[in-house]
Amino acid sequence: MLEVRKIKAVYSDVVLGVSEVSLTVPDGEAVALLGSNGSGKSTTLKSISGVLATEDGEVTEGEVLFDGVRIDRLAPEETARLGICHVLQGRSAFTHLTTEENLLMGAYLRRDRRRVAEDLEKVYSYFPALKARRRQMSGYLSGGEQQMLVIGRAFLFGPRLMLLDEPSLGLAPMIVEEIYRILRRINAQEETALLIAEQNARAALAMASRGCVLQNGRVVSEGPAERLLEEAHLALPSKVAGSSVQSPTENRPSSV
């Protein structure tokens, strides 16, 4: 479905964001995009969604294909219309709108009101915490709730491909787990393809089928999630497994 072919992204004509990044996200699959700070994860997502242009960046080489159509020159609202929803890093809630208004903004492009109402209930069943705060300004939500909100909003968007930029950022391990549990459900039940940029490699690889490791703007490793998880523990501990979060199912000692 999504194919990124050797893209090079440059900010303000001079700052190199990524060079030669290639990856594919097949229909309905979840792919983890891993790497440390500044490795180019966010830039890769922005190149796909078109948000890059709003930050004075552009894809200068290579191409991004969505269903075989080039999308790397499209504006974010145009890629959105194709069914790509980019959940930006940090808590990008519209702070002066209520929780419910925020969620409804996700359905901005949708005309099927009845289905939207159903999906809204679904979001509330995924995240009961949001239902309790539906009439509150979203600026008053906690960090975890805001992250749930933006994921719920992306769900209401009804995307074919969801781009998630560090959904675990700054959240308590328990909340991270809850968010990933829901992401797994969205991926499995709604058949939404996910591309998840994460520093928290374990959390992302636990749900993704494939993974892709970036370093200094290049892909350094790629493959099935299980293999990367192995590598994370054995070969590249400092690069990939830089996460402090352990899933409770495994109790291995940290390898560093």
Binding site: P76, S92, A93, E101, R114, E118
Partner: protein, 349 residues
């Protein structure tokens, strides 16, 4: 049936008036406002009618600015210019071309909105301060054009805008004007509240709060800004057109940059983005000015008219600065806090 409940929930969520108590309060308020001219006469303050009439017109105009600045977050210092366009539009069409008032208003209002949308074009790519500069430039260009346009009476302006006819009779008395402007204000409040709860209105707020995310959800940010200016221009055009008929004279010095600034101040004092807040901001700031004026005319303050004008500006400015410093979310935030405290009493803080 969970599904159907979800739908009614959405409807209730965006309902303007939620419960019976609010309906009652609204009915009492409307009744009071409908009786206001008679009440004012009754207490011997008939002279205040002119003040209330201008206040209603200002409400219409500022609700437009509230769409642009409050909802969409684009600071416009050209609002006085949009009102000027609406006024001159009506004046030119009626005085120079002999159109009836309503036809002139029906043309000049959308024309004003169209110009506002054009002003928004450069603003599409700009943010914050720079949008303000563009609108400021528009104001001076508009002023220059009307000053040199013979059709607009050049420097002297146009005199003799006819009063509108309603169902056969002319609007003449202050009370009649009051009811006309009251209707326009109610219409504007309804329009503004409906914009706020519509998909477009939420898109304005989304663009204001986080334009990148808004774009990512499929909102065309530039188009949203143009729409906001267009809608704001509609309100301003309507207010300007009525203004022209009310004072029957349209001159350049009626529309100053100061007014634009006070309008922004009213939005700040009211609490940006909220319809009720914008109305409250207009009423509060205008009342402040009127009280100062009355106090001097009554001889309670030993000042001449120049000093009063300066004092009024100072008080306006001080009010805006104090609000921006200590209550940046305006009167609406104060109201919200009071309500929350009342609801949670005797618990809570």
């Amino acid at each position: 049936m969970r599904k159907s409940r979800a739908e009614t929930d959405i409807r209730r969520h965006i309902a303007l008036v939620e419960n019976r108590r609010q309906w009652t309060a609204l009915a009492i308020l409307m009744a009071l406002l409908l009786l206001l001219p008679h009440l004012l006469r009754w207490i011997g303050a008939g002279g205040w009618l002119m003040f209330t009439n201008f206040t209603l017109l200002t409400v219409v105009a500022v609700l437009g600015l509230n769409v642009i600045t409050g909802m969409c977050g684009l600071i416009s210092l050209g609002h006085s210019g949009f009102i000027m366009l609406g006024s001159y539009g009506v004046a030119i069409l009626t005085v120079q071309l002999g159109w009836p008032f309503w036809a002139a208003l029906a043309v000049s209002t959308p024309a004003t909105a169209a110009v506002a949308a054009i002003v928004a074009l450069p603003a599409v790519r700009l943010k914050g301060f720079y949008v303000a500069v563009v609108t400021l430039a528009f104001f001076f260009i508009a002023q220059y054009v009307f000053k040199n346009l013979p059709l607009a009476g050049s420097f002297h302006g146009l005199v003799g805008v006819p009063p509108p006819r309603l169902f056969g009779w002319k609007v003449r008395t202050e009370t009649a004007w009051y009811y006309l402007f009251f209707a326009a204000a109610v219409l504007s409040v309804l329009a503004s509240a409906n914009i706020a709860r519509s998909r477009f209105g939420r898109a304005f707020c989304a663009v204001r709060d986080n334009s990148v995310t808004a774009a990512g959800l499929g909102i065309h940010v530039g188009l949203a800004k143009i729409r906001a200016f267009f809608l704001g221009g509609l309100f301003a055009g309507l207010a300007g057109g009525l203004w022209a008929a009310y004072v029957s004279v349209v001159r350049l010095d009626q529309f100053s940059l100061w007014d634009s600034i006070w309008y922004v101040g009213m939005i700040i004092i009211g609490g940006g983005g909220s319809t009720a807040g914008a109305v409250a901001g207009v009423v509060l700031l205008r009342l402040l000015g009127q009280i100062l004026r009355t106090a001097t005319m009554g001889g309670w303050l030993p000042l001449n008219s120049n000093a009063v004008a300066a004092l009024t500006y100072a008080v306006y400015g001080l009010a805006i600065v104090l609000f921006a410093m200590f209550q940046p979310h305006g009167l609406m935030a104060i109201w919200g806090k009071l309500r929350a405290r009342y609801k949670s009493w005797p618990f809570g803080v």
